[in-house]
């Protein structure tokens, strides 16, 4: 059995990089250890090159249909790798100054991203499960990396417990699905569900249980509880990773399983996910209103964003290909936009926090004078998260509403209305931060900030990206129009 190496080239590249990083960390001493960061970046770039090559080569089917590299998967891989690059850049100084765990951190990070890369390509429950755990387990550790920090260890514990609980629930569901369909291949499951099995209550319940596992990753209500505590407690680059990459991975898996495996019973899960979407965005936004810690605010905001992204799931219907494809595309576009702006926001938070330990929103007062670049960037990112014009955030919301409008249903309109109202509510707290940044004078003792070069580069690139995509969303939207699921083996 020949292995299609090209199909897994990005993953292989990351794996090799991860092992190299580990080895280098062991081999190097002192300041030289910091070379692992550029090393990891190089590996990431290589992986990106492979992914770009794959874009042209898609679709490919490998491992007897367990693994499919289609345009959908490649788009996600590029998203993950791009995020990885950004996170590596913003991590550099953050961890360099901590002096601990240098190599391990990068190794764990890369491992987690291997899992993410697998996610959108997986066409088998088992592979999905492994991919999910490969994302989770290193993340558990990374969250707790600030070992002497009470908050960090608490965050790790919470994250871990909820994570394994969700995993267990998902596994229980998977086992039941297997019991009904006799296969773990998504295609096979879909075929079985299209038949008689599609109406057995136990199976439908199991479908929900499987979805729970991903609901945890994307922090949808009521599986979201870990998110604020974890983000707040973990090292900021890790929080960024969780908020963006890990969440995107969850969505990749959810999209795959929902639209490939469970598509025949979409009429059952779509309303449920739609309701979850409404609950998620509303709760996220409402609770965000009361937050005083910027990271917690971003955490709740990202919960709300997940709610928005769940809306297209609520639109799905069995057999309605146009609707379903539009839904998938909307989620994908939103995720890309979300990645750009949210990584940016976390990057700024790191830039501010690294030196000063500031996280309360009030400590951002006068950021406009202390670091105009960070202040401007934060403003752009927050406005974009809210969906202001000329930022990519607007198009993200637009994409969701557009998906709703493809075939208007009452439920779709209800969800869209919630989206509309919620995006207004969201501006309340985004504006609060912006006001703090620009309208309030800086505290007397607050120093001017000198963000690291790599961080500045990331911030600038993301800010430009936010605005560029805000002006020309077609740069992303046009290519992703063709993203579809390729049929597996």
């Amino acid at each position: 059995m020949a292995i299609d190496w090209l199909a897994i080239a990005p993953e292989v590249a990351l794996t090799v990089t991860a092992l190299l990083v580990l080895a280098a960390d062991l081999a190097l001493r002192g300041d030289a250890k910091q070379l692992v960061n550029p090393l990891a970046m190089i590996g990431t770039v290589v992986a990106i090159v492979f992914a770009v090559v794959l874009w042209a080569e898609a679709p490919r089917v490998a491992f007897e249909g367990q693994y499919v590299v289609d345009s959908f998967a490649v788009a996600f891989k590029l998203l993950f790798l791009g995020t990885l690059l950004a996170i590596l850049a913003i991590s550099a100084r953050y961890f360099a100054e901590g002096r601990y765990f240098q190599g391990e951190y990068y190794f764990l990070l890369l491992t987690a991203f291997i899992g993410m890369l697998l996610m959108p390509s997986a066409r088998d429950l088992l592979v999905l499960f492994i991919a999910l755990e490969t994302v989770s387990v290193p993340a558990f550790v990374m969250v707790g990396m600030r070992k002497r920090d009470l908050y960090s260890s608490e965050a790790a514990l919470k994250f871990f417990l909820i994570g394994v609980l969700s995993a267990a629930l998902m596994l229980f569901g998977m086992s039941m699905v297997y019991g009904f369909t006799g296969t773990t291949r998504l295609e096979g499951i879909a075929q079985a569900l299209a038949g008689d099995a599609g109406s057995v209550p136990l199976l439908l319940g199991s479908v929900m249980l499987v979805i729970v596992g991903f609901g945890f990753k994307i922090s949808a209500v009521p599986f979201h509880f870990w998110a604020p505590d974890t983000y707040a407690g973990s090292p900021l680059p890790v929080a960024a990773m969780l908020a963006v990459a890990s969440k995107a991975a969850g969505f990749a898996g959810l999209l795959t399983i929902a639209f490939v495996a469970f598509e025949p019973v979409a009429d059952v899960w779509a309303p449920v996910l739609g309701v979850l979407a409404i609950l998620t965005m509303t709760l996220g936004n409402l609770v965000a209103l009361q937050q005083r810690d910027l990271i917690r605010l971003l955490a709740y905001s990202s919960i709300a964003q997940a709610g928005y992204m769940l809306i297209p799931f609520g639109l799905a219907r069995p057999g309605a290909e146009v609707v379903n494809q539009a839904a998938v595309r909307a989620v994908l576009f939103y995720l890309i936009a979300y990645a750009v702006m949210n990584v940016g926001a976390f990057a700024v938070a790191i830039g501010v926090n690294r030196r000063t330990g500031e996280r309360s929103i009030r400590d951002y007062a006068g950021l406009g004078t202390r670091s105009p670049l960070l202040a401007l960037a934060m403003t752009v990112f927050l406005l974009s998260l809210g969906g202001a014009p000329l930022t990519v955030g607007l198009w993200a919301k637009f994409a969701i509403i557009e998906a709703v409008a493809v075939e208007v249903t009452v439920f779709g309109l209800v969800m869209a209305s919630f989206l509309v109202v919620n995006s207004v509510i969201a501006f309340f707290y985004y504006l609060r931060v912006i006001r703090e940044i620009w309208f309030e004078p800086a505290a007397a003792e607050a120093p001017r900030l000198q963000p690291a070069l790599s961080l500045s580069v990331v911030v600038v690139v993301l800010m430009v990206g936010t605005i560029l995509l805000g002006v020309l969303p077609g740069l992303v939207a046009d290519p992703t129009v063709v993203t579809t699921f390729a049929t597996g083996g």
């Binding site: 607007l394 509403i401 557009e402 006001r435 620009w438 020309l472 046009d478």
Partner: protein, 511 residues
């Protein structure tokens, strides 16, 4: 420049301020005066370009789109980068550039605390592109982008350079307007899908109209209505306006009153009416009633004000009521009236805010009672200017304010598209009540003049030296003062330019 081919001119004029604002942001903050002069230069050059566009505009074909740029933009959603200008857009477009230039000139000397001219002017230039773009975008998506773009710089202008309650006002402004516009966006999408034409082009959609069921038209119009009505602002969506106007810095108030509010009415005329004629017809009586309530209500509120800026702000509610009454008439005259009223209000109220701002500079208070009268003695030139502009604002014939009001009432007496048959009595009542509103308007302005201008100045001002109108103020105000008279004496300046375009537009209304 050939109006048929020189689309670039419009694009350059539109984006020059934005690019200039960016360039301004890169200048070192220490170059205070140079920055201010650069802003004047940028706005001046773009205004010169607009003059060139106006000069080469083919007035014989003012009903057609000229200076067209129409290229694909976002293929995924069929959005196009579609800029053009016609008789309806031209006056507002012109006004935008004029006012911004004047604001830039004004800012050479006057800038409220905390200063920071770089940020302020960069925001203003960004605002300019947003405002101007709204008037020349002929693609719904592009329109929406420009529309929303305006919010951000204005939010900062109010929030950083505003009055004591700036925090509250800025957020209220932002959220309230945003709230309306997201519904508008939803309605745009509904229109896009309902039309089935795979286009966001306003002319194409207008030509396709009416499409969709009555229910669709009603709901879609409601969505658009919310967006535009909040911006206008129509009663009862007006509550953001007094706060925003009052707290905004002078330049912000001028642009807010002078251009921003116009975007709402422009949107009604350009988008809501031609694309959703049936919905518009159903809503017209409601709009009319709300408009007239706004007229009376705004005037009554003005009577109760003690803050001069807030008074002017509330007067906008009333004046925009006349504009909306014109729109509610749904006929060519009404739209002419609305557009004229729009423009006139922009000039006059813009000027009033300039005056109020300068008074605040002098007296350091906006409280009418504290100013206490006697300005004609203390600052005779200000007194005369205030009288002049106030009288213009109250709709005196021969000055710009009259034509919008009178023509709106004249239009409303015989509303178009069959409204005359079903709502004759209602519209007559609307006209009568609106006309009564003019009395109230006269009332509060005269009272304002009496309390500010007339009588002997109170003791507290006799000691300090108050400067009368400065040169820089004369320079930045003179064009407005002239325009107020010119438009009043020669309304054809605007009516004539719009005529063909309005006739075209009314063609879409049917009926």
């Amino acid at each position: 420049m050939d109006p048929n081919t020189a689309g670039w001119a419009l694009v350059v004029a539109l984006f020059l301020p934005l690019v200039g604002g960016g360039a301004l942001a890169l200048m070192p903050a220490a170059l205070d005066q140079q920055i201010r002069r650069a802003a004047v230069l940028i706005t001046g050059v773009s205004f010169a370009l607009v003059i060139a566009i106006t000069a080469t505009f083919d007035f014989g074909r003012s009903g057609e789109l000229q200076f067209v740029t129409d290229v694909p933009w976002i293929a995924a959603i069929d959005a196009r980068f579609f800029l053009a200008i016609d008789g309806i857009s031209l006056p507002l477009f012109f006004l935008t550039y004029l006012l911004t230039l004047l604001c830039a000139i004004y800012s050479l000397k006057v800038l409220p605390p905390p200063g920071k001219p770089k940020a302020f002017l960069a925001l203003m230039l960004m605002l300019q592109t947003g405002m101007a773009g709204t008037f020349v975008a002929f693609d719904l998506i592009l329109f929406f982008i420009f529309w929303e773009l305006v919010l951000v710089p204005m939010f900062f202008m109010i929030g950083i350079w505003g009055g004591p309650r700036r925090d509250y006002a800025s957020v209220k402004f932002f959220l309230y307007t945003l709230f309306g516009s997201v519904f508008m966006l939803v309605a745009f999408l509904a229109i896009y899908f309902q039309s089935g034409a795979q286009t966001w082009s306003i002319p194409e959609l207008s030509a396709l109209a009416p499409f969709g069921s009555t229910t669709f038209q009603t709901w879609a119009f409601l969505g658009i209505f919310l967006g535009f009505a909040i911006k206008v602002p129509m009663w009862p969506f007006h509550t953001w306006l007094p706060d925003a106007h009052t707290e905004a810095p002078t330049v912000g108030s001028v642009l807010l009153a002078g251009v921003l509010l116009k975007m709402g009415t422009y949107g009604f005329i350009r988008i809501a009416l031609p694309i959703l004629p049936e919905g518009a017809t159903r809503f017209a009586p409601i709009i009319g009633v709300l408009a007239v309530i706004g007229i009376i209500y705004g005037s009554l509120c003005c009577l109760a004000q003690t803050d001069i800026k807030r008074l002017i702000a509330f007067s906008s509610v009333g004046h925009m009521g006349f504009v909306m009454l014109g729109i509610a008439a749904m006929n060519a005259t009404g739209i002419q009236a609305a557009l004229f009223g729009n423009l006139a209000h922009g000039i006059i109220t813009g000027m009033l805010f300039f005056l109020a701002g300068s008074l605040h500079e002098r007296y350091h208070t906006r409280d009418i009672a504290t100013i206490g009268g006697g300005m004609l003695k203390l600052l005779p030139r200000y007194g005369v200017l205030l009288t002049y502009v106030a009288v213009a604002s109250l709709g005196l014939p021969g000055l710009a304010g009259f034509w919008g009001e009178f023509t709106a009432m004249w239009a409303a007496i015989s509303p178009g598209v069959g409204l005359a048959d079903s709502y004759q009595g209602l519209y007559l009542a609307l006209v009568v009540v609106a006309a009564l509103g003019t009395v109230l308007t006269a009332g509060y302005f005269l009272w304002l003049l009496q309390r500010v201008n007339l009588g002997d100045p109170p003791e507290r001002w006799s000691s300090g030296h108050l400067d009368d109108v400065m040169t820089i103020e004369w320079v930045s105000w003179a064009p407005l003062l002239v325009l107020i008279l010119a438009l009043g004496v020669y309304p054809r300046l605007v009516f004539g330019v719009q005529d063909a375009a309005v006739t075209n537009l009314v063609g879409f209304l049917g009926g």
